[in-house]
């Protein structure tokens, strides 16, 4: 009882964070900061407080208050962002990462209450997208984005949004094709029943009628729904290789031609039902295979990391310029927390660049005037001015992205089982078909042709084509449930084939949360507030961790703030002189036994104590190092090697740990071990691993929030599932085994069918039963076996 009361008192009504001061109270409601309070005021002024009824604390914390939407006033940028515009209305779609609950949905669809110029809002919850129609004469795009920002829903606008729109391609009509095939399949089945059960002699005219109708229904199935199979088969012929689509297309063509022939010549009923069923099941298999997670984007590159525009300085004025128009010689201004988009020379200001996303090194780097700063760094501290020396497309970072590893297509990756088998399958099928034709030809021409077509019909690898997609999609949904998201179904097979694991260190096997902070000092609340205020002004990761640890305190002005790179911070708060940082910086030499990183504090010259920050490894790193027996394991880190000693216990020997690796080094390392014939899996997190992730046979991006930016990869893994990696690897091998087993089953069916087909006496009824039965067996076998395997690996 008592616990819930204190909780009520201390958590912010809007965002649920702890309220550390009593300063922000409105109508008995506590808020953690001015930002949260003003969002509440804004909502209550528009009578939108129902927002708080659907969920507890649905808001996002508004502790930060920097505004940088100036570039949205630039017409050239606006035009690229919007979907549609005319004299009256403009339509735009935003990606809003914060959408997480039904309150968000409710509020965002009620935006017109806050501003009547907004006509219409629709949220796509899973995609976290907001579609807005508004009158641009009354509210500009910039004001709209600022309004969204004010209520706590900042849209993520990146360079990729601008480019994605331009390459948007037409959707394929798979669902429509399935609908047509299913429609025809149902009708043809009905019309074929009388034929199966026999039609009396005086009802022969019906037989003709049904036959003609069946041919009619077959037409859209072959030429609309099944068209892609012919295209794909033709392309594979042009490339002089045989893919699985070739025997499928052959089967469809033979089925159709033989049906037409039999109906025309009144010699039989044809195989229209088998034809429609085949195409229908194949398309369903294709649909299943295409299963993707639209709440996760895999196609990320530097463009989703970079902003849309950057502020340039021209004749003393600041002007936002789209990144594509940024040229050599432009003077740009970068504020706190903004990303440097192109290689540039520092002209003015104190640069303290956080390259953690590029190099993995956690400590911000200080740069002197005249030094070149590479693109991708994030300025922490005051605004700086730079002169661009290389256009965005040629900067260090983009060059890394544009390395040939990126432009390389999937073809030299591991060939899937299906691709390997279908080659031999097709050849064998053609040999049997031609063999039976030649066998019957001397004695009975029509029987020879009948046998030839029957072989192609019966052996059509429908079940084979279905086994992989159904097994894979079942596996994919199991991985999904375990917070491991694969880009597509082929990745499961790649996962099963790897024999070498390479890991990045920072952010991948270590976590950056505050669980490992310990305070070894007696600080009263006032002193904590002093430390908090000093640390608030530093973007150093350690300062950020300390701020998070201390919780929110009242804001106080800081004067004389100085951050000495690699040492610590010093400043004057509320008249107290506070020093935070290394032992030498703070001036204590009490030589306490060392374990982990320490941050010392002194207030007004009195030594107070220190924070201990132990490097926290991800849970389950032990499990993963146990993989050593089956896999070759390496560690590649961009950091210095001060943790070598601690890390070596996870690896076989210290020769497998590599430190001070640049992104290019990582890529080259992967390439080198691939030359030795190893199938490499790279696990990384930052942009610095992006090259290696792409170069490897299978790249996994580890992230603590799957909706955050992570580099382009084959799979995205939530940090919480890191410990399950050995299970994932074993399960992927099970999956491949299941595919092999289902292949054997499908072959058995084919052999039974073939033994009838080579004699040339294939009845339509037999084909019509064999095809669906084999399909159903395969689908049920694969789904059951996959779920059984998942339970065995403790993944379900």
């Amino acid at each position: 009882m008592k616990g819930s009361q204190t909780l009520e008192k201390t958590s912010c009504y809007h965002c649920g964070d702890d309220c550390t001061t009593q300063n922000y109270i409105l109508e008995d409601k506590h808020f953690c900061c001015q930002g949260c309070k003003s969002v509440y005021q804004l909502l209550s002024a528009s009578q939108l407080c129902n927002y708080y009824n659907y969920n507890d604390h649905p808001g996002a914390t508004r502790a930060r208050t920097d505004r940088r939407f100036e570039y949205l006033s630039e017409p050239s940028i606006v035009n690229k962002l919007i979907d549609y515009t005319d004299e009256q209305v403009t339509m735009v779609t935003f990606y809003i990462p914060h959408i997480h609950c039904s309150s968000c949905l409710w509020l965002l669809e009620k935006l017109n209450r806050i501003n009547p110029a907004i006509h219409y809002c629709r949220v796509d919850f899973l995609k976290k997208q907001l579609n807005i129609r508004f009158s641009h004469q009354q509210i500009s795009l910039r004001q709209l984005v600022e309004l969204l920002y004010d209520i706590g829903y900042e849209p993520l606008i990146s360079l990729q949004d601008v480019i994605k729109k331009q390459n948007a391609t037409g959707k394929d009509q798979l669902v429509q094709k399935i609908a047509v095939a299913g429609f025809c399949f149902g009708n043809v089945m009905l019309l074929s029943f009388p034929e199966y059960f026999g039609i009396s002699l005086y009802e022969q005219s019906f037989k003709q009628f049904f036959g003609w109708l069946n041919v009619l229904f077959g037409l859209p199935v072959v030429f609309y729904s099944g068209r892609e199979y012919f295209v794909s088969a033709w392309q594979s012929l042009l490339r002089k290789s045989l893919n699985i689509d070739f025997p499928l297309a052959l089967g469809v063509a033979v089925l159709f031609l033989r049906t037409v022939f039999e109906v025309f010549t009144h010699t039989g009923a044809g195989f229209a039902d088998t034809l429609c069923g085949l195409v229908f099941f194949l398309l369903v298999g294709k649909f299943v295979q295409k299963k993707t997670y639209h709440h996760i984007s895999f196609e990320r590159d530097y463009r989703s990391f970079f902003p849309v525009a950057v502020n340039t300085m021209a004749e003393g004025d600041e002007k936002p310029v789209p990144l594509s128009d940024l040229h050599t010689g432009h003077r740009i201004r970068i504020r706190n927390n903004e990303i440097i988009p192109a290689d540039a020379i520092l002209l003015k200001g104190q640069a303290l660049i956080d390259f953690s996303f590029v190099t993995g090194e956690a400590l911000p780097v200080s740069k002197t005037l005249g030094e070149i700063i590479y693109a991708g760094g994030r300025q922490t501290g005051e605004a700086i001015e730079l002169e661009v020396v290389k256009p965005v497309s040629q900067s260090y970072l983009t060059q890394l992205w544009n390395n040939e590893a990126f432009t390389r297509k999937q073809d030299n990756r591991i060939q899937t089982f299906n691709q390997k088998v279908s080659k031999y399958f097709t050849v064998a099928l053609l040999l049997i078909a031609i063999g039976s034709l030649l066998f019957w030809l001397p004695s009975d021409i029509s029987r020879g042709i009948a046998a030839f077509t029957a072989v192609l019909i019966v052996a059509c690898p429908c079940a084979l084509a279905l086994s992989t997609p159904f097994t894979m999609s079942a596996a994919l949904s199991i991985f999904d449930r375990n917070l491991f998201y694969l880009k597509n179904t082929a990745v499961v097979e790649q996962l099963a084939a790897i024999d070498t694991i390479v890991m990045d260190k920072t952010g991948t096997i270590t976590t950056g949360n505050n669980q490992c902070i310990q305070l070894n000092a007696q600080l009263n609340d006032n002193e904590k507030a002093l430390v908090y205020n000093i640390c608030m002004h530093s973007s150093h990761p350690l300062s950020r961790m300390i701020c998070r640890y201390l919780g929110n305190h009242e804001w106080a002005p800081v004067t004389g703030l100085a951050e000495i790179a690699g040492k610590g911070i010093v400043g004057l708060v509320k008249g107290c002189h506070v020093r935070i940082g290394s032992e030498q910086h703070v001036g204590s030499y009490n030589n306490t036994p060392s374990a982990g990183t320490k941050v010392h504090i002194s207030i007004d010259g009195n030594y107070k104590g220190y924070f201990t920050l132990a490097q926290q490894y991800r849970e389950g790193l032990k499990n993963i190092s146990a993989l050593e027996k089956e896999y070759e394991m390496f560690l590649l880190s961009g950091d210095q090697d001060h943790e070598r000693f601690e890390l070596v216990r996870f690896f076989k020997d210290s020769g497998r740990l590599f430190f001070n690796q640049s992104p290019q080094d990582k890529l080259d390392f992967i390439n080198r071990i691939q030359q030795h014939g190893n199938k490499v899996m790279m696990i990384g997190d930052g942009l610095n691993d992006a090259g290696a992730l792409k170069q490897s046979d299978l790249g996994i991006a580890v992230t603590d929030n799957v909706n955050n930016f992570s580099p382009g990869s084959d799979a995205i893994m939530d940090g919480r599932s890191f410990a399950k990696l050995p299970g994932f690897l074993k399960f992927s091998k099970d999956t491949v085994r299941i595919i092999h087993a289902s292949f054997v089953i499908s072959l058995t069916y084919n052999l039974i069918g073939l033994s009838y087909a080579v004699t040339g006496k294939l009845s339509p009824l037999f084909a019509a039963i064999l095809m669906p039965v084999s399909t159903v067996t395969i689908i049920s076998f694969t789904s059951l076996a996959t779920h059984f395997a998942a339970r065995k690996r403790k993944l379900s």
Partner: protein
């Protein structure tokens, strides 16, 4: 038995109507977002003067 010609024509026509309905639903984007409407329907319509659209 000639009535069968008429009956089959009727059934095919009916099926075609359903197929067209499906195509229409697909084209107007009704199958694009299969989750949000299920949440939206649970939210109360408390508003007095809500100028929808």
């Amino acid at each position: 038995m000639s009535i069968i010609y008429f009956l089959i024509a009727c059934s095919v026509l009916l099926a075609l109507v359903f197929l067209t309905a499906f195509f229409w639903a697909q084209r107007t984007g009704q199958n694009e977002d299969l989750y949000t409407p299920s949440v939206r329907i649970l939210l109360d319509d408390t508003d007095d003067a809500d100028p929808e659209k």
